[in-house]
């Protein structure tokens, strides 16, 4: 069985995914996870979770279709370039 291991580096910090271990049961997963992620002072705590217990969510429905809230497709780089060019040509015009 595959167990996902999350580790907390210091007390109070969020747990972050560290990797996984393969083990026949919880007791083995505990010991193997300590070996790989915990016993050299690199973690203050581990969460060892059977992969099957994790509910993965990866398809999202854009229920309200409010895509104007999103910034994808809006290239700040292009806008800036445009603005710079406008200012540049305005300055040239003024100096004349």
């Amino acid at each position: 069985m595959i167990y996902e291991v999350f580790r907390q580096e210091r007390k109070g910090q969020p747990f972050q995914h560290a990797g996984s271990v393969e083990a026949p049961d919880h007791a083995f997963a505990d010991v193997y996870a300590r070996e790989q992620y915990g016993r050299r002072g690199e973690s203050t705590a581990l969460w060892v979770v059977p992969r099957e217990a994790i509910v993965e969510v990866e398809e999202f429905v854009d229920e309200l279709n409010r895509n104007y809230h999103r910034v994808d497709g809006y290239s700040l780089k292009a806008k800036l370039k445009e603005a710079r060019e406008r200012v540049g040509s305005a300055l040239v015009a003024r100096d004349r």
Partner: protein, 192 residues
């Protein structure tokens, strides 16, 4: 450090070196890949403990850890016969691991009470790593404790634990040949 303290540190160092070597023979062939990592790491810890103990004794005797570890003759080693056996059956390896870790825990507890603060400090440091070894041994013990092959191995090996340290099996001689072959290939005193 008095002579009897030095002798008992050498006994432990020899146990840890020889057991570390034997356990390392499982590297790459343990029953599970995760076990391979865990057991190899335990083997490496044991050799690390041996190094630290040899260093303490070496300083006292005006020699080096390497000379203590590799330049003695097989009959000068003070390890228990339990650790020198080549045990290519997993249940026997685990039975030895279980017996050894229990005996080692008692011994470390005594060393931690030593009046010599260096010895007590080193024992405490070693014991922090051994705590993981004991957890690992317990995990396997719990899994195998009702298997006849495992309980038989426990019964067969237990007498070796208290069997004295003066006599060795031929397997120590074989191990010694392999362990020291590189150093013996050069004249004594060679700087590596």
């Amino acid at each position: 450090m008095n002579e009897s303290e030095a002798r008992s540190l050498l006994e432990i160092a020899d146990d840890e070196l020889i057991l570390g070597w034997r356990d390392s023979e499982w590297t790459g062939i343990a029953p599970l890949l995760e076990e391979d990592v865990a057991f190899s790491s335990i083997a490496q810890n044991e050799i690390g403990h041996a190094r630290a103990l040899y260093e303490l004794v070496a300083r006292d005797r005006g020699t080096t850890a390497d000379e203590l570890a590799f330049d003695r003759m097989p009959d000068e080693y003070r390890n228990s016969r339990l650790v020198e056996l080549r045990l290519l059956d997993w249940e026997k390896t685990i039975a030895r691991h279980w017996l050894y870790e229990q005996a080692d825990a008692e011994r470390l507890e005594r060393l931690k009470q030593s009046e010599d603060s260096e010895i007590a400090g080193l024992a405490a440091k070693i014991d922090r790593e051994e705590a993981y070894h004991r957890m690992h041994a317990k995990m396997w013990f719990d899994r195998l404790k009702d298997e006849p092959r495992f309980t038989t191995a426990l019964e067969d090996l237990r007498p070796l634990l208290d069997g004295g340290r003066d006599d060795h099996t031929p397997e120590l001689g074989e191990l010694w040949e392999e362990m020291t072959i590189v150093r013996r290939s050069q004249p004594a005193g060679t700087k590596w």
